[in-house]
Subunit: 316 residues, 2 copies
DNA sequence: ATTTTAATTGCAAGCGATTGCATAAATTTT
DNA sequence: AAAATTTATGCAATCGCTTGCAATTAAAAT
């Protein structure tokens, strides 16, 4: 492997000039610089990351830590990963992935944290590097999120506009900010508009929703819309309706949440509140990189990115 | 941040002794060592990874590169990630994630490569670090994979044993080793056993399979089993059958492949050939770590891990 | 033409750890 | 009891790069 020294010798300059040609382009004579760049290419020179990190105290690594016992069946994170990875890449940063088991391994310049639990806060507070949360947290940290409250309101408003007059919120039985926001959004909307409504909470599995519908089928009259807190639940609900002989979307409407991919496998393509996860991932990465570059300047701390309803075949 | 030097001073020894206490426990007097370890804990000393990497030429980072334009809707990789991450973690290695865009960013001690395309081989060959492929490749490299040929044969055998007498292989329309192996496995089995059979190839989307069934419904008599090359296709097929009024599993059987999670959302829980992705990920990581530790000793190069049929409600 | 200022380049030091060799202490052998 | 061996520890050099300051050169101002 060629080193700075090799390049310098070959280009007849000092190591310093080569270093500057790379890191401070303005400080070196243009023609000299192009020459150096050529030599670098000839020698296939790659700066040694370790040496760089050692002296500059910059690893050029960002760590994404997924604390939630990673539900490996959830494509949600995959899309997030893609967004973060792409953005970091553009800034020559590498993405390191850590889980609740491995969060202590490896160094980095900053953290993107998601799926955090109360018990992890002690660890978080002790971090010396900048931190950005993905998803609003209980505590007061910088984060990127979607407006769950508003998103659900939009979903319900749409269902009402479709003409469904009985609104059922199918929530995920979990005590997390995103879920509470959604439920509150639903409650407020149906309250203000005096709508027939109901809230049920289920574990986040399609077949659980299907089973639930089977057992409670008679409780749901025609013209009911199910506003679900995940696409999984939505698909389970839809399957359940169809199995009970209900007609989707004519007599029953189903709206999902997340817009992951499940709509690709459902019998009918799902109407769903689509989170722009790729964009949100990029935003989180960008915010973190800004904090790394300017540790004090803490201008924009909370970034809210709107979800949009993707209208398809499960509503009329 | 405390350095080796700080620890050494506080413990009244030289830096070297501290270094040895960490890396070569046998070479330092036990009581001295425990004392040093205590001081390290007191000072919350963490070895500087950059400095270490610089001199030892070991980054303690493994890079997983997913070349396939990452189908972010595919939980497959998520499960793989979990396996790799867990295994690396146990060996104090960090996992760096790269995609087809970012494969040039960052240094590492070795690579796990997956979803590789012909055009990437030039890059692969030029790598100086050890490489392990996830999934058999066209070329002759070390890899971890499941026996796709055998797995499909097992699926078909099971379907026959269930009493289905018309076998349909629903393949993914892609020119990849895993797919060719599966198709060949099917063809060989039905050929040798003189079974009624047919092969169709579709893009890997559930609703495409559903649509296909709608259009070709009359071509599939009762007592047909669909052996699918993915769970997505299987779910689409199953939905299609049900929508056409067919009875699963009594008149039609459906067998999936992968065992990702889709069975959690299907109307009926899917019988599927389950790849132990977590285990396979761990195996890949372990193989790579072995190659990193002993670059020459190339004993075990191809690791085949068996998939197992997970029998559920979509077959009788 | 001479001084001032700005733009380039080089020198030396050092980031925090590890490797090879040398030294000191403890143990065994003769 | 002296010599040979093993076991522990320390010293110095070094990994490849960047920071701070000094030195050189070119451009601008007097």
């Amino acid at each position: 492997m060629a080193t700075l020294h090799d390049v310098a010798k070959r280009a007849n300059v000092s190591k310093m000039t080569v270093s500057r040609a790379i890191n401070h382009p303005g400080q070196v004579r243009p023609e000299l610089r192009t020459n150096i760049l050529n030599v670098m290419a000839e020698l296939n020179y790659q700066p040694n990351a370790a040496a760089r990190a050692l002296v500059s105290r910059r690893t050029r690594v960002v760590k994404l830590t997924i604390f939630e016992d990673m539900d490996t069946t959830e494509p949600y994170y995959m899309m997030l990963l893609a967004g973060i990875s792409n953005e970091l890449n553009q800034h020559q940063y590498a993405l390191q992935l850590a889980t609740s088991n491995s969060y202590k391994v490896g160094e980095c310049d900053g953290y993107i944290l998601t799926g955090i639990r109360e018990k992890n806060y002690a660890w978080v507070e002790q971090l010396s590097q900048p931190v950005v949360f993905f998803g609003r947290t209980y505590q007061d940290y910088d984060y990127v999120d979607t407006d769950n409250y508003q998103a659900i309101q939009d979903s319900v408003a749409y269902a009402v506009q479709c003409g469904y007059d009985n609104l059922v919120f199918v929530g995920i039985a979990v005590d997390a900010p995103f879920e509470l926001d959604r439920e509150r959004g639903f409650q407020d909307f149906v309250g203000e508009n005096h709508l027939h409504s109901r809230v049920i909470r289920l574990a986040n599995h399609g077949h659980i929703a299907t089973d639930y519908l089977r057992q409670h089928w008679l409780e749901f009259p025609k013209n009911t819309a199910f506003i679900c807190a995940s696409d999984r639940l939505a698909i389970g609900i839809e399957d359940g309706i169809i199995q009970q002989g209900g007609n989707v979307p004519n007599d029953y409407g189903v709206v999902g949440f997340d817009g992951v991919f499940l709509n690709q496998i459902a019998s009918k393509r799902l109407t769903t509140m689509k989170q722009p996860l790729e964009v949100m991932g990029r935003a989180a990465a960008r915010l973190l990189l800004a904090k790394i570059a300017h540790p004090q300047t803490t201008e924009q701390e909370k970034i809210i990115i709107n979800s949009r309803l993707s209208i398809s075949e499960s509503t009329r």
